[in-house]
């Protein structure tokens, strides 16, 4: 610390000027203190023994700031402070469902988790006991199959759009159709898979691979979109550098463009998997549910975690208790899988983005 470097303090303005510049305003501590009090009250309301109504009291406390401001600072400032309160409130409102879902699913699902829960199927189980082994395997198999269908199609489509389709009519059409595909409701994807398989296998068909087809319909557009974005980010200079070395276009794509975009592509694919692994509706229609383990995608019904969760809570049987417990357990497992995938995607994009190029 060298005091010599500090500038000489400017001449203090006359008190009147200072006042007119600052205007009349709330003491700086006031909004902060009131905000802190309000947050404290809200936290007690949510977690404490008093009751949820305290949250509303907390909001009213926070509303003191704009009210007070109205008298001290005038209408414009007060409006501004009120909007700040509203906007913050909106954010807090959005946090409630997330917090509520996480806490209920964790508190009710966690006690259910045990090694048996993961290693037993529902075969010959009445009432208590049983597990999600069959559903877990089904989910993994169907999702893996869906990824095996979607990733090549999605990636190559993205390659077409970026590397070959520039300015072509077909590319414009494909982009539009990918948009349309993004909007297909998941249940419609299920109906499509059903309608397709009925042609070959007759009415009432249920098959794991049908689920994979339905999920692919939902997954392909997501993969195309994210891969396209990532390929777009690869600087054209790298392609030119490769061409100038006498490398054919396809090798340039495989060895220069794709490796450069790899982190982004992996992230995008992981997020796409995370999106479809929790899908229920299409699997309900085409994969159905069974109590036993089925490793064959081409042989009849196949249980999956979301469908298992759904039926466990909707048709729990008598007594309903054990089945509903299993539903919470399965919901928790599903939630954990999805969150882990999201987290993994973040990590990949964080650590494996190409070096040196920001």
């Amino acid at each position: 610390m060298t005091s010599t470097l500090q500038p000489t303090s400017p001449p203090t303005p006359s008190p009147e000027i200072a006042k007119s510049l600052r205007g009349r305003s709330l003491p700086t501590w006031a909004p902060k203190a009131i905000g802190a009090l309000s947050v404290a009250l809200a936290l007690v309301g949510v977690f404490g023994p008093v009751g949820f109504w305290l949250v509303f009291v907390a909001w009213l406390v926070a509303a003191i700031v704009p009210l007070w401001s109205m008298f001290v600072e005038g209408r414009r400032k007060a409006t501004d402070r009120f909007v700040t309160l509203l906007v913050t409130t909106a954010f807090v409102i959005a946090l409630f469902p997330l917090g509520s879902i996480l806490t209920t699913v964790v508190t009710r699902g966690a006690p259910v988790l045990s090694s048996d829960f993961f290693t037993y199927s529902m075969r010959n189980v009445l009432g208590e006991g049983g597990g999600i082994y069959h559903a877990l395997m089904g989910t993994l198999l169907i999702t893996a199959a869906a990824a095996a269908i979607s990733v090549p199609i999605g990636l190559f489509t993205a390659i077409y759009l970026i590397e070959y389709g520039e300015g072509k009519r077909l590319a414009r059409w494909i982009r539009f159709l990918v948009d349309v595909m993004t909007g297909i409701p998941s249940i419609v994807a299920g109906l499509f898979a059903y309608a397709l398989f009925v042609i070959f296998f007759g009415p009432g068909v249920r098959m794991g691979v049908g689920g994979a087809v339905a999920l692919s319909v939902l997954m392909i557009p997501v993969v195309v979109r994210s891969c396209e974005e990532m390929l777009k980010l690869v600087p054209n200079e790298l392609r030119e550098a490769s061409y100038a070395l006498g490398v054919p276009k396809w090798r340039t794509i495989v060895k220069v463009v794709l490796p450069t975009a790899l982190a982004g592509i992996v992230t995008g694919v992981t997020l796409a998997v995370a999106r479809v692994i929790g899908e229920t509706a299409p699997l309900l229609i085409i994969a159905g549910l069974t109590d036993s383990v089925n490793f064959n995608l081409f042989d009849g019904r196949m249980a999956t975690l979301p469908v298992f969760t759904y039926f466990s809570i909707i048709t729990p049987g008598v007594p309903p208790g054990p089945s509903i417990e299993r539903a919470w357990g399965a919901a928790l497992v599903l939630l954990i899988i999805v969150m882990l995938l999201n987290f993994a995607a973040r990590l990949v994009s964080y650590f494996f983005s190409p070096k040196g190029e920001r």
């Binding site: 414009r76 400032k77 501004d80 909007v83 700040t84 909106a90 954010f91 959005a94 946090l95 469902p97 997330l98 509520s100 879902i101 209920t104 699913v105 190559f156 077409y160 590397e163 389709g165 077909l170 494909i174 349309v180 595909m181 993004t182 909007g183 297909i184 409701p185 249940i187 419609v188 994807a189 109906l191 499509f192 059903y194 309608a195 397709l196 009415p203 319909v217 392909i220 557009p221 054919p248 276009k249 396809w250 692994i277 929790g278 899908e279 229920t280 509706a281 309900l284 229609i285 979301p306 809570i313 539903a327 919470w328 919901a331 599903l334 939630l335 999805v338 969150m339 999201n342 973040r346």
Partner: protein, 314 residues
């Protein structure tokens, strides 16, 4: 001149086998997408038409297809529109909070937290909605009936389980909230800094700056974000199927125990027991849903495109 063009054309087609194969594969993948969508439309139509044409005594629901599907369309639209009405103000507030109010360092983390809402599988929303939210809302509904019962929307009698169309809409609102928020946030962040600074330089408060600089710029973006959210809400199946206790009526009474159903939920709930032409009718209703969502998404994209042209002209 012709000779130049012919050589130019020859050059643009790759001569190496590797190039030819790779390019062919990419085009084939792109065409698969075209084929898939054509397949969706085609197979749903083929399987759906018999359901549309079926006479009332051939199907389980015992009515003509039109009589069957109209209440469902009504319920679908009602639930989605309600959800949107609940979600849009909150989403705009959240987006504005993240883009302009929250501390800069926190902004991306807060955005990520909101995005987590989009990651929650719909069946988990369903489980939460049916066993937590619905129960929690029962006292709220009786209070609504007591104090606002004169409004037809809240005429009651309130449902004892809380599994009403309003509950379903709240769940849907939570589900579309992150979709709308993410898009609005992007758009708010794209507001030209010059406009913002111009507004602030005129002595505007932060809110006046938002009104002067952000909202005019973002209006069409907010609209299209909401339309995309609407598309999402229309097609959402499981949360509604699980939360809603539906009886297929047409009513605006939001808190009673008799509620309209939605197309998607109805398919999910009845498909497994359905046989024969009833299945075809369900597939046809799915086609109707597809058309509705297509139109909504299409409108959203059209607005986005127009906005692009507009901002490009500046």
């Amino acid at each position: 001149m012709t000779s130049i063009q012919s050589t130019a054309r020859k050059r643009s087609t790759p001569t190496r086998p590797g190039d030819r194969i790779f390019r062919g594969t990419s085009i084939a993948a792109a065409l698969t997408i075209l084929a898939t969508l054509a397949g969706v439309a085609l197979f749903l139509t083929i399987e759906g038409i018999p359901g549309v044409l079926a006479s009332p005594d051939e199907v389980k629901h015992g009515t003509t297809f039109i009589d069957y599907v109209v209440p469902l369309v009504f319920g679908t639209l009602l639930a989605a529109v309600l959800a949107l009405a609940l979600a849009i103000p909150v989403a705009i507030g959240v987006a504005l909070y993240i883009s302009h109010y929250a501390p800069r360092r926190l902004a991306s983390t807060l955005g990520y937290i909101i995005d987590l809402l989009a990651a929650v599988p719909s069946v988990v929303y369903g489980v939460w909605g049916i066993s937590f939210l619905a129960t929690a809302l029962v006292p709220v509904y009786s209070w609504l009936e007591r104090t606002l019962g004169f409004i037809p929307l809240f005429a009651g009698p309130p449902s004892a389980t809380g599994r009403t169309i309003l509950t379903a809409s709240i769940v849907l609102a939570v589900m579309v909230l992150p979709v709308i928020t993410a898009l609005c946030r992007e758009i708010f962040l794209q507001t030209p800094r010059l406009h913002e600074e111009a507004a602030l330089a005129l002595g505007a408060t932060r809110w006046e700056m938002a009104r002067l600089a952000i909202f005019p710029y973002a209006r069409s973006g907010i609209i299209s974000a909401s339309m995309l959210g609407l598309g999402r809400a229309l097609g959402e199946t499981m949360a509604v199927a699980m939360v809603l206790s539906a009886s297929g009526v047409i009513t605006f009474n939001l808190i009673s125990s008799t509620n309209p159903s939605t197309i998607a939920a109805n398919i999910a709930l009845t498909f497994n027991e359905a046989t024969g032409l009833t299945v075809n009718a369900l597939i046809a209703s799915g086609l109707v849903l597809f058309l509705i969502t297509f139109l909504v998404n299409f409108a959203a994209r059209a607005i986005v495109e127009r906005r692009k042209d507009f901002s490009g002209a500046n």
